[in-house]
């Protein structure tokens, strides 16, 4: 219970935030808005789940945004340009993401290089390769894409949950199980808590670190595929700066950036908080570009201060 207190507090504040928006804006409290919260943030959320696990282990991965961009243009190029079937392209894309992740993880672990630098290099590499494939965006038209775009799970009459939202929930669930109910996940937390101790405790530190970067690379690629579905196209500049949003969402969800402490479910809350702030601003629709930024900042600040007050800092 005590461990889940921050999580509950974060959830409570999310509700307050949402409630305030619902009072302020007509039509905000609707199933569509809530469903959109999941659907519109699906690829951010999927990338953030992978990022959560990396941060659990005290690592960081700046390459996720670029991997999304690369995957997106890669998928589109193969499907549209080469006429390959998505069923063949998707595994390839996820495989490539995983390989890039594994490479970075290996460099970070084996050569003791700072994750920040290595994944920054990964970011440039993926971005550059994406643009090398095509600087322009490429449309995808394929039966599967149409089917996915039109698919939704009807709950009753009013609520239609699209594929992306379902996938997000699925990934969060898997992330939660991996992070909190497997040896691998607990090993990650231990590494983030104190890598030296984890090593002395006989935990497989190296394999776990490499595995988590690999997993995250795959997650980012999956997010990239979701992005292609979301837009029915591929675009190398997709996901620019998304890594920062992902990190922020993870941290807002209560995960410690220095590692060793956190919660995958918190990340979902973080995504929803981000989404709610943006949705509220869209409903308002009166803010100029600059006021919008200021308001987002102010809301973030309010939220974080509230979170602080709810969960008093341990002395």
């Amino acid at each position: 219970m005590k461990r889940n207190l921050p999580l509950l507090a974060t959830g409570a504040i999310l509700l307050v935030l949402f409630g305030a928006a619902a009072v302020a804006y007509d039509g905000f409290l609707s199933s569509r808005v809530i469903v959109n919260l999941f659907a519109d943030n699906a690829f951010l959320g999927i990338a953030a789940v992978g990022m959560t696990l990396v941060i659990f282990a005290g690592g960081i991965d700046l390459s996720v945004g670029a991997v999304i961009g690369f995957t997106s243009i890669f998928t589109a190029t193969l499907i549209t340009g080469r006429g390959l079937h998505p069923a063949a392209v998707w595994p390839m894309a996820i495989g490539l993401g995983a390989v890039l992740g594994a490479l970075m993880g290996t460099l970070v672990h084996v050569y003791r290089l700072p994750a920040f630098l290595i994944t920054l290099a990964g970011m440039f590499l993926a971005r550059g390769m994406g643009f090398w494939l095509n600087t322009e965006s490429v449309g995808i038209s394929h039966r599967w894409y149409d089917a996915l775009a039109n698919f939704d799970l009807a709950i009753g009459d009013a609520v239609h949950v699209p594929a992306a939202a379902l996938l997000l929930l699925g990934v969060v669930l898997v992330g939660y199980v991996v992070g909190h109910h497997t040896r691998f996940g607990r090993t990650l937390l231990a590494i983030g808590g104190n890598e030296q101790s984890a090593l002395l405790m006989g935990l497989p530190v190296g394999p776990a670190k490499i595995a988590v970067y690999t997993l995250n690379g795959a997650c980012a690629a999956l997010a990239g595929i979701v992005a292609t579905v979301y837009t029915s196209s591929g675009n190398a500049s997709m996901g620019i700066g998304l890594e920062l949003d992902a990190i922020a969402v993870v941290v807002i969800g209560g995960t410690l950036l220095t590692g060793g402490r956190g919660h995958v479910a918190g990340t979902l809350l973080g995504v929803l908080i981000f989404g709610t702030i943006q949705a509220a601003i869209l409903f308002d629709g009166r803010l100029s570009s600059w006021w919008m930024r200021i308001v987002v900042g102010a809301l973030l600040l309010t939220f974080i201060l509230l979170q602080r007050i709810f969960v008093r800092r341990k002395s």
Binding site: G27, V33, E136, Y230, T231, S233, N235, L282, G285, S289
Partner: protein
């Protein structure tokens, strides 16, 4: 929608990345205010995903019409289909999109980035007699104006074998980027550079500064051509620091809302409407300068 009820229009702007964009947003807002239209404005911060999110939100909010300034050309089909299902007309501004189904949007109003690049090329050919070594200052890699203006200019100068692009780098549409790249070009190519073609005015103005600092005279020793025709650039043309800037008119507001009214009244509108883009060089810059609004 009965008469008397205020119209609600959603506008998914790309961002606030330049003065041109700000003028564009301003024009939309002031025109909406003038007409008593409830404009839902959204800043996409340069990300297509934000724009799609905005459009979906507009649909949820049940707006009467949606205006999009698409950041990229593809990727709009799913969300436009949603709009169509909700029977909300969509107007594209600024640039058009690639889609399999042209009925997904009502019409397009805007500038033709491709045409702008062409105009710059033609002007240059006339001005230089079709000869010269060009360095190109590109916009942000992957962005639509950068893509279009690069392609169009390249196509445009093909007719003139004397015009050659000898180097090309990105200045990210930024002044300091233009300046920095130009400094490097000046060191690298020295006197070989005869012409600078910049994808926007900001980079051209930065380049002009670099040229001055290298002890040369921009507009005389090196010819500068750029696109956008922001006020400062027109002034620079008038002062002889730039040679030519192609206008890309941001003041869409009136035309967009006229079109909205027509669409909602059930009138037919042309599928594509281009703003007439003008070109300013030494001959007319000084004259139009006082009337420039942005």
């Amino acid at each position: 929608h009965a008469a008397g009820k205020t119209l609600k229009v959603g506008f998914a702007q790309t961002g606030a990345e330049s003065a041109w964009r700000t003028a564009n947003s301003e024009s939309m807002k002031s025109e909406a205010a003038k007409r008593g239209i409830d404009l839902k404005f959204s800043d996409g911060q340069g990300k297509q995903e934000n724009q799609i999110r905005a459009v979906r939100s507009f649909i949820t909010q049940g707006v009467d019409a949606i205006v999009i300034a698409p950041i990229v050309e593809t990727g709009w089909d799913p969300v436009l289909r949603e709009a169509k299902r909700a029977k909300i007309p969509v107007i594209l501004t600024d640039r058009t999109i690639q889609t399999s189904d042209e009925s997904l949007y009502a019409c397009f109003i805007g500038s033709d980035f491709y045409e702008e690049g062409k105009m710059a090329a033609d002007w240059l050919a006339k001005f230089t007699g079709g000869k010269g070594s060009i360095v190109e200052l590109q916009g942000t890699p992957g962005s639509a104006p950068a893509n279009e203006r690069r392609k169009a200019f390249g196509d445009g100068i093909k007719k003139y074998p004397g015009l050659k692009i000898i180097d090309s780098q990105s200045g990210n549409f930024e002044r300091s980027g233009g300046k920095q790249v130009m400094e490097a070009f000046l060191k690298k190519h020295g006197k070989a550079i005869g012409i600078v073609y910049a994808h926007n005015d900001d980079m051209a103005l930065g380049a002009a500064q670099a040229i001055e600092e290298a002890g040369l005279k921009p507009g005389k020793d090196i010819v500068l051509v750029s696109i956008d025709a922001i006020k400062e650039a027109v002034a620079a043309v008038a002062a002889g620091r730039l040679n030519c800037t192609v206008e890309c008119n941001p003041l869409f507001g009136p035309k967009v809302f006229d079109t909205v009214s027509k669409l909602l009244a059930g009138e037919k509108v042309p599928k594509k409407m281009y703003n007439k883009d003008e070109l300013f060089d030494a001959t007319n810059a000084a004259k139009v300068l006082p009337s420039r609004q942005y």
